[in-house]
Point group: C2
Chain length 196, copies 2
DNA sequence: GGTCGAAACGGACCGCGGTCCGCTTCTATT
DNA sequence: AATAGAAGCGGACCGCGGTCCGTTTCGACC
């Protein structure tokens, strides 16, 4: 075998025009989301802005949720990168406890900033599974570093659940709770789960 | 003043035909949800089944989410009643810790049973605010009984967050985690939050 | 019972998400 | 360069949630 043979690719490597269209659609969607806000972005608009037919959008991204998830993914990826290899205390280099707190605060803010996009991206499962379980995996790792014993998967879920948009939405918009109080409450939660 | 005078009613007491229609709509919706499943229930169907125009549905229930929330509310009310005045350990009479665990398990199951209806009822805020904060208030009360100190509102939120449908959905459908493990994980969480 | 304003009604209508299928474009092969 | 057929394309079309407004019904008051 030579280096010209395709090495363990996907069985169907994307065709050139398809790739071009995917890029065009993604760029158009991102632009429209930024300028008009998520709510005002219709599939027809994205299609015409990208200069493709509507069918193409749905073949590439499955649904509106899928497209929004793809847009969201752009910033999510950057955020993940800063968790994995950015400067401390979010990135590696700081003590695990500091990293965990930085993680929570950062995630909290990221969720609030992209609130409407996250809502439009819909239930997890539409977003890539890998992206979704990243947070859980990272928290599990940090809890391990802190010497926490028990069902770490469950504990990580418990730590992350209060940061979910649906919960934050209720607290911020409905109950008018300040960001500081939410952060403090989350810090307390972490302390109780880790400590003792 | 006599007993014939309306006592501190809403300013606009519902007209007779309006009340009749509300009942008919709710009954039709409930029936259709039970027989065909939430996903197959369209507003047109409910309207014709109830023998009213579509406009009436939307005037009474605001949106599809609102209608589904109203349907969901029927069973939620019953559940709340059993928490407030049902038999122990869920109702009053048992030690606070037992009640709390019973509460969590009961809520967990209720959420899973009505999963699709809850999803269709959409974000909180569509459902009545009272109904939504009931769980939080109850948990806060139980935590107080247990002598927990701190920001009880935040702690109650932390206790309830892992029971939210969006979290459970991920665990049950995506990660295939058993109900027992979820319950055990939640029990552990409660112990850590209360204890120490 | 008759009158009148307000409230409720209902179905035609709209926009959007999503599908379908005949046509076009790409690329592997010779 | 020619070819063939798979992959991609696009826009007409559909169903559903939601709105609008001319018409009907209610019930308070005379």
């Amino acid at each position: 075998m030579t280096h010209l043979l395709p090495l363990a690719d996907d069985p169907a490597p994307e065709r050139a025009d398809a790739a071009r269209n995917r890029q065009a659609i993604l760029a158009a969607a991102l632009h429209l989301v930024e300028t008009r806000g998520v709510a005002c972005v219709t599939m027809d608009t994205v299609a015409s802005e990208a200069g493709v037919g509507k069918g193409t959008l749905f073949r590439r991204f499955e649904s509106r949720e899928g497209l929004m998830a793809a847009v969201l993914n752009e910033s999510e990826t950057a955020w993940q990168a800063s968790v994995i290899s950015g400067p401390p205390p979010l990135g590696p280099g700081a003590p695990a406890m500091e990293r965990l707190h930085a993680f929570g605060h950062s995630r909290l803010r990221a969720n609030l900033v992209h609130a409407d996009l996250i809502a439009a991206a819909g239930a997890p499962g539409t977003r890539s599974v890998a992206a979704l379980s990243f947070a859980n995996m990272h928290v599990r790792y940090l809890l391990g570093e802190l010497g926490v014993t028990g069902d770490l998967l469950m504990l990580a879920t418990a730590v992350l659940a209060p940061l979910e948009m649906i919960v934050l939405e209720q607290q911020v918009n409905r109950e008018q709770i300040s960001l500081e109080r939410i952060e403090a409450g989350w810090d307390d939660l972490v302390r109780r789960i880790v400590g003792c």
